[in-house]
Subunit: 337 residues, 3 copies
């Protein structure tokens, strides 16, 4: 339990109301009860302010008069909420040490403050830094290194030589450092090209459930500091992703493509191989990128849903579009005569 | 081995032929031999009836005269086949109990009829009901509850506080309850927003291999009774999926979207965040949904394949479509003069 | 360390330079140093030849005069590089035997030369051939068979009765033999149709990380010899993929579709169910296939990215395309009068 003033201090806000009011947990405006903390960030939800049962609401200055109970006034309510929610829901404390069911090769260097969970496998030459958490059933192959305060939740595979920075959060089912899709056609039969590079992941990177990041063919695949990856993303070999770029779920990035800093990539996007996307590119959901993008800005493709019987008609017309354009050209030419 | 009359009784059908004929297994019409049971559901395959080697065929009444050997006459041959196939291929019996290689925190409540396989990890405060099967290498984190008769095949991760109903079938590689993609931009740097909600899964839900269902940001992600999910689906935080909705593989559903009951969603569909889809919506494969759908019915988007050299031409024309439409408008205006 | 002449002999090439020159590793032309071997395959990178620090470059005959240091002259530099890279980076040797933390049912047949890693689970009736490597935390369910020299890297699930050929390479997170998406609607409620078939995988098949291949409904799902699958591919039940076909990441193939030999399928492609694709079909990235393809050749669909504000305009026009086509028709009809 935290008092209003303790929370306000933590999130750099100003109390409106009773400084000693006590809060036990967070909730949405719609569902909050009187010992709960909520927030208003998107003004679309302003209507819920009047009826909320929340004991405290985090708001921006202009919304403060509308809060029925106590308020904490901040510059950015969503950021402030995120910090308050972490305060009220701290990471679970875990005892340091290696679970007896884990299988650890003896030449690995595991900091005594690290936690190694049940059924974990740790290969040879692995380095695990201070306060790292390796959750249950993770497999850490040879010569991997993991920086301090990183957390691997469970059931994650890191292949040989992968390097993870500090404060990473890696979710279950993630595979980092599997072979890239390197194949060569030897007189009609495909042979596997050895994938000798590895993967370097910077600090403060999140990797969502079941995302895969392939090792480089010769040089490394590189994920820079502050990159946030959602679930089920496929990152091909030798891709480079710049600082603070965020990528939503189900995106596929083919090999050797370089993505700049501060990009925002929507769900289901596909990006071809050997391309370059400059900094601050935004791609809306399901966009297909087949050429490099040299100008910052927002790009899109893909056709939104319509009723299936209309879609049928439009799809047929689409197939005839080149001819349609020529028919228009002919009409124009006639006109000119 | 079952007799024809035993099978007919089980599937509520009428025997045409020898009631004591014995059947050992099922097969397709094309490949069946004389001790095998087959079925005709799709009339497109009617031609195979004449030549089938099957000892028994499940058919509707109007097809019965064409069956060369024995038949079982039913209302819905596919449903009847499904039930007969289960009769002839029962779930493997498993001894109850906890495999000695499993790692189970002692305060968990595991029903004595449940099976806990090798290398399984079970955290603190977990509740596992009657006849549950937890297959090899599953990771069940803290405070999870799993309802009776549910089966987790292998290598599945259920994160803290996830609740699974009765009779679930969950396939390998599934991750339920990983953090949603909650990030907030704090002066140019993305920070992780704690994901405090969980996931509630109803009764009779199937979840296909490598599908991921994220935990809610504050409230829970909800999958209602009878939902069937195929492989490699991504369900974002706070999504709600209504009863008896079925979703094919590779679908992505962004956060906070609400999908109604009895929907049928094809493979590779992408659905944006914060949308509402009403009941009985059908989406054909690879459709992109960017707006709420308020009317039941079938919706589509996406362009089917054509030869690449035509595609090139049409894509160029597509890019000029806005201009083309204006050129047509000009021609029409000239006409009017 | 290998000498130039040893490497040349291994890759069937001709030495240009000092036969006794020693090479320790491979590198890209841009990053290589003097004890390193590089290659020039794509003539686009010819400019790097002059400045490379590589001690040896593998090239075709016509490029040999431009190599500043030593060269190995071959017919196909990429294939030759692949073979040299394997020579210089051999698979890690592993001791044969079963790790003490593995859980193996005693009636399985495991060749004494096979390696079974830590935390592995092996079910009943499994057959594992010579020199097979089963990496950490793999789950091999009942009656699976795995052919000689196959390597399962880690954290892979093979379900009951799956058969894997020789020399397979299977990457982490792969699930082979989970139930296909077989459901039938029984008076408004979906029931699970037992999936009785299995999966047969030929020789020399690669399967990328987190790819899923479902077991057949009645007959088997079949992956022929020499097929190469990238990451996060979904292969539905009863799909058949012909010899030497290669499939890039994030492809979804719906049930009962048959794909020919020597096809090349780009990333993010979606292929509907019950279709047939003939041999030597190429599909570019993100193509949607809704009909069978009977002619070899290259096929495409999908719209490449454009600036979002243009996209908005074109999408609106696309929706009106059927009407636009009719307006053009009317103008043409007027003309004819």
């Amino acid at each position: 339990v935290w008092t209003l003033s303790q929370i306000a201090q933590h999130i750099d806000g100003i109390v409106q109301g009773d400084e000693l009011y006590e809060i036990a947990s967070v909730a949405t405006l719609q569902n909050a009860q009187n010992k709960q903390l909520s927030f208003l960030s998107n003004k679309k939800y302003r209507k819920y302010l009047a009826e909320t049962g929340a004991g405290v609401v985090i708001v921006s200055r202009d919304m403060a008069p509308d809060v029925p109970m106590h308020a904490i006034i901040v510059d950015d309510p969503y950021i402030a909420y995120a910090k308050a929610a972490r305060l009220l829901n701290p990471e679970k404390a875990r005892n340091a040490g290696i679970h007896p069911s884990a299988s650890v090769v003896s030449d690995s260097t595991i900091h005594p403050t690290a936690y190694i969970g049940p059924q974990v496998v740790i290969g040879a030459g692995v380095t695990i830094a201070e306060n790292v958490m390796i959750g249950p059933a993770c497999v850490i192959l040879d010569n991997v290194s993991i920086g301090e305060d990183s957390r691997l939740i469970a059931n994650i595979t890191l292949c040989d030589n992968v390097r993870i920075g500090k404060r990473a959060i890696i979710h279950p089912g993630v595979v980092i450092g599997a072979d890239g899709f390197g194949i060569a056609n030897d007189h009609g039969k495909w042979i596997h090209v050895p994938q000798i590079g590895s993967v370097q992941i910077g600090d403060d990177v999140d990797v969502g459930a079941n995302t895969t990041i392939d090792r480089g063919a010769i040089d490394d695949t590189i994920i820079a500091n502050g990159v946030k990856l959602d679930n089920q993303i496929q990152v091909g070999h030798n891709v480079e992703i710049g600082e603070n770029t965020v990528i939503a779920g189900c995106v596929g990035i083919a090999g050797s493509t370089i993505i700049g800093k501060n990009c925002i990539i929507g769900g289901g996007v596909g990006i071809g191989g050997h391309l370059e996307l400059t900094d601050s590119v935004m791609l809306t959901g399901m966009t297909m990128v087949t050429k490099s993008i040299k100008q910052a800005g927002s790009y899109s493709s893909g056709i939104p849903a319509e009723e299936t019987h209309h879609w049928h008609k439009n799809v047929i017309r689409y197939r005839q579009m080149d001819k349609l354009a020529e028919r228009v050209k002919q009409l124009e030419d006639l006109k000119k005569k």
